[in-house]
Amino acid sequence: MARDRDPGREIIPAVQKLRIQHAKRDRLRFTSHRDFQRAFERALKRAGVPMAYSAGFSPHPKISYANAAPTGVASEAEYVEIGVVQVVDPEKLLAVLDEVLPPGLDVLAVVEARTPDFVARLEASHWRIELPGTSQETLQGALDAFMSESEVLVDRMTKSGIRTFDARTAVIRANVEMGADCAILQVVVRHGVPAVRPDDVLAALKKVADFAQEIPPRVTRLAQGPLLEDGWSVGDPFTLDREATQA
């Protein structure tokens, strides 16, 4: 049919996949996942990345996004995989892509994908939750109460209504620090279904202890990756790809 995209048009298969770690910082932490996708696709265009496209009516560039941090949450550890039709130099891609992305969306590392099951390797996240106006003692008390429970049910509004789930079991490790104008909660959370997010942990703290938080917290995902042998440290998910490249 002449009216549709020419089916005879050649679909060039991807010759290489690359995995990209990027940050979402400062005011751009308010970007939603959809916003980021659009900005990222345009950045790939400006960078002249020879993207592979899907077949069909309206071809899409081959990009996979994993475990995006919620809107309003900053991150040092977001991961994207892209497919390209010409072999790309990861170091050049890192430099050029970072140059064309707005400040705040910063490219931190690029590796060639040499191993399967990348998303499965993202086992846990390390979050830093800054709570302005909260004292260290109050937070420590709430955390102690939370950690002493074996299960703390919280509610979250989803598209299909309120969902109730346990926010405690996924928390592998947590501690409290003092920051300049706030108490800081450091927490390592195992990924699961549904994913327990920082606001779920805070909701659970409020449930088990007399703990109010007036000012919105500042949350940053510091790391995302495999759980290391100690059972609570979050490792670098690119390690296997780097080793495979060097081998």
Binding site: M1, A2, R3, D4, R5, D6, R9, R27, L28, F30, T31, S32, R34, D35, F36, R38, A39, E41, R42, A43, L44, K45, R46, A47, G48, V49, P50, Y53, F57, S58, P59, T71, G72, Q86, V87, V88, D89, K92, L93, V96, L97, V100, P102, P103, G104, I215, P216
Partner: protein, 650 residues
């Protein structure tokens, strides 16, 4: 004195509002300059939500033109939604720019671009949130000048009490001239204060300053006269016209937002002005004469813009894009250049003729052919003569047949309801037209799944058009005609299921009519309705007809006029119109004659192809028609080597 960012305070509020990303800025190609390095600081506002305002070409152009000056900085602000407005008031956070989150009250000038009058209430919110007095008369040296621009500025009388000035016409050179005057004034130590600065601006003719004009009324409510109340102020203020678009190839680095916007594409303006002479069309009347951008500049702007933005779609903008003298060469040239890429081209605002189908086919060479849009505007041949939209039914059928035959599945037709001299029958003709369109389309394409969508809205008479004297149709009759049309299409047993109808009720048009042909007395209505909480009038879920009518009731209590007086009343030639002292170049006698021709169903041609018929613009403004062809050739794009591919050099 440097100015602090309000972001730390705003940041606390953002997690509590819808779509916070619209308030954080960070657009690609945005510019932030150190405050203290500049003398003149502009804030530009598009008075609607960020997603609507960010793609606005007027703001993007002036933003760049101003920021290119070393002594000037320019930032942007947009209307904040009521959820954030409430939090800002509770927490003392002022209206802010999205670039560096500086408080709007600290700037020298706040330029507000009005594409439509429905942004007036949002301007009041912004002024108030900025901590600037609502009334111009209460402002002092510490407050920005509030300057209106855009098409609605050709009659800013309804907002005259809230603005310090209005700029008519093209803004590129005007903002620079205003900046020169502000810079000189400030470097002299601001002698004579705000009044002196406004006098300098008014005397130069660059800007209309309402405070320097008095309006007197007759007992029956009509205007007696409008006259300057200071020596040295011109009796009439003229519009600005940029005469060489190739010298002003803006935006050079279009803003690309991170948030989603209503136009996810890059726009390139291919010409300005239109002399088709459609009598309802204010844009066509006030932007004369036609000035084309050359094919070479257009091609350069497209190439540069794509590189700077990463957009995948290009819109070739103008009031009637297929009228560019080299549109076929431009379309083919661009289609050739971007044939093997994912880039697509679009041409909004196309005329009803077969040539446009060839063009549309060219532009969609390697894409989907989903829908084409045409605007016959009037349902009957008779009414099309009244509005001077020279399209015969034969043209229309031939055009849509060609469209369906070359694979387009859906044709959208735009119409208006409430045009002068219109009867029910003129509107009901639309149902018959749509029927014929589907019939011809099925024959031409051999398919039954083709569709035709009829989109119809109420007509609002606008200043500086031949219909400025016309009575607007009341909303009850407008709505009843729309329902009759809808029912007629539903009753079409043969093709009714292939025809969609989209219509807007007549009530918002009444408010638009009140504001667009309003005078200074209408300002009180705007203030009243705003105080009653009215915001975002362009959004049907926020618009409230009842609130507007209640506000008008209060505001007009002691006046000889009411809403009907402004809207459904026909005017005489002898009446002083609220905007007569604002000069669009159009000769009032010529407009009146054209109005009389409309009533006699006499058409007028386009002055690009026939001798001048003295509308007055070129004579008066010292301008001339600028059209090609240039006979230039668009060369294939040079291939730029990728910077990221391995072994591609260093």
């Amino acid at each position: 004195m440097t100015v602090q960012s309000v972001f730390p305070a705003l940041e606390q509020l953002l997690p509590r509002v819808q779509k916070p990303v619209q308030y954080v800025g960070g657009e690609l190609n945005a510019v932030v300059k150190p405050w203290d390095d500049t003398i003149v600081r502009w804030c530009l506002m598009y008075p609607d939500a960020y997603e609507v305002g960010i793609p606005n070409q007027g703001v993007q152009i002036l933003y760049e033109v101003l920021n290119e000056r070393a002594d000037t900085l320019c930032e942007r602000t947009y209307a904040v939604w009521p959820d954030l407005e409430k939090l800002m008031r509770e927490n003392g956070v002022p209206q802010f720019t999205v670039d560096a989150h500086r408080p709007v009250g600290a700037f020298d000038a706040l330029g507000v671009s009005f594409a439509t009058e429905l942004g007036y209430t949002n301007m009041l919110t912004a002024i108030d949130l900025a901590g600037v007095p609502l009334h111009a008369v209460d402002r002092d040296e510490t407050h920005p000048l509030v300057i209106a621009g855009g098409h609605a500025a050709f009659n800013p009388e309804a907002i005259s009490m809230f603005i310090d000035g209005a700029v008519l016409g093209d803004g590129e050179q005007a903002v620079l001239a205003i900046t020169d005057i502000i810079a000189a004034f400030k470097s002299e130590g601001s002698p004579g204060g705000r009044d002196e600065l406004l006098m300098r601006l008014a005397k130069s003719g660059v800007m209309y300053v309402p405070a320097f004009y008095d309006v007197e009324y007759l007992e029956d409510g009509r205007i007696r006269r409008v006259s300057p109340n200071r020596p040295g102020v011109p009796w009439r203020v003229a519009k600005h016209t940029v005469m060489d678009l190739d010298e002003w190839p803006y935006p050079k680095a279009p803003l690309v937002p991170i948030a989603e916007s209503v136009h996810e594409r890059m726009s390139v303006e291919i010409f300005r002005g239109c002399t088709r002479g459609c009598r309802f069309c204010q844009a066509g009347m006030i932007t004369r004469p036609v000035r084309e951008r050359s094919m070479t500049t257009i091609a350069d702007m497209v190439a540069n813009g794509l590189e700077k933005t990463g957009y995948e779609e290009i819109g070739l903008l103008s009031l009637s894009s297929a009228d560019h003298s080299e549109i076929a060469e431009i379309a083919k040239g661009l289609a050739d250049r971007y044939e093997d890429t994912q880039t697509s081209l679009s041409l909004p605002s196309t005329r009803v003729d077969a040539f446009n189908i060839d063009l549309a086919n060219e532009l969609s060479r390697n894409g989907r052919r989903s829908g084409l849009t045409f605007a016959p505007e009037g349902g009957s041949e008779r009414i099309r003569k009244v509005i001077n939209k020279m399209v015969t039914e034969e043209d229309l059928i031939r055009t849509v047949t060609a469209a369906y035959a070359s694979g387009w599945r859906q044709v959208k037709l735009y119409f208006m309801c409430g045009l002068p001299t219109e009867e029910d029958e003129d509107v009901l003709q639309i149902a018959r037209l749509a029927h014929e369109v589907i019939k011809a389309g099925r024959e031409a394409s051999g398919r039954k799944d083709i569709r035709c969508t009829v989109s119809i809205g109420g007509f609002v008479p606008k200043p500086h058009t031949p219909f400025q004297w016309a009575a607007q149709l009341d909303h009850e009759t407008t709505d009843s005609r729309l329902y009759k049309l809808r029912d007629a299409i539903r009753q079409d047993r043969e093709f009714g299921k292939s025809i969609g109808v989209r219509y807007h009720d007549g009530k918002p048009g009444v408010v638009e009519g009140l504001l667009s042909r309003g005078d200074r007395r209408v300002g009180k209505v705007i203030e009243q309705v705003w105080r009653d909480g009215q915001r975002f009038d362009g959004w049907s879920e926020h618009f409230s007809y009842d609130k507007w009518m209640a506000a008008a009731e209060i505001a007009f209590a002691d006046e000889a006029v009411d809403v009907n007086w402004y809207t459904i009343r026909e005017r005489e030639l002898s009446e002083v119109l609220a905007w007569d002292h604002l000069d669009s170049g159009l000769d009032k006698e010529w407009l009146w004659d054209d109005w009389q021709d409309a009533l006699s169903e006499v058409e007028v041609d386009d002055c690009r192809w026939v001798p001048c018929f003295d509308c007055g613009v070129c004579d008066h403004m010292g301008t001339e028609i600028q059209v090609g062809p240039t006979n230039a050739v668009m060369l294939p794009m040079p291939v730029i080597p990728s910077r990221v591919v391995a072994n591609s050099g260093t």
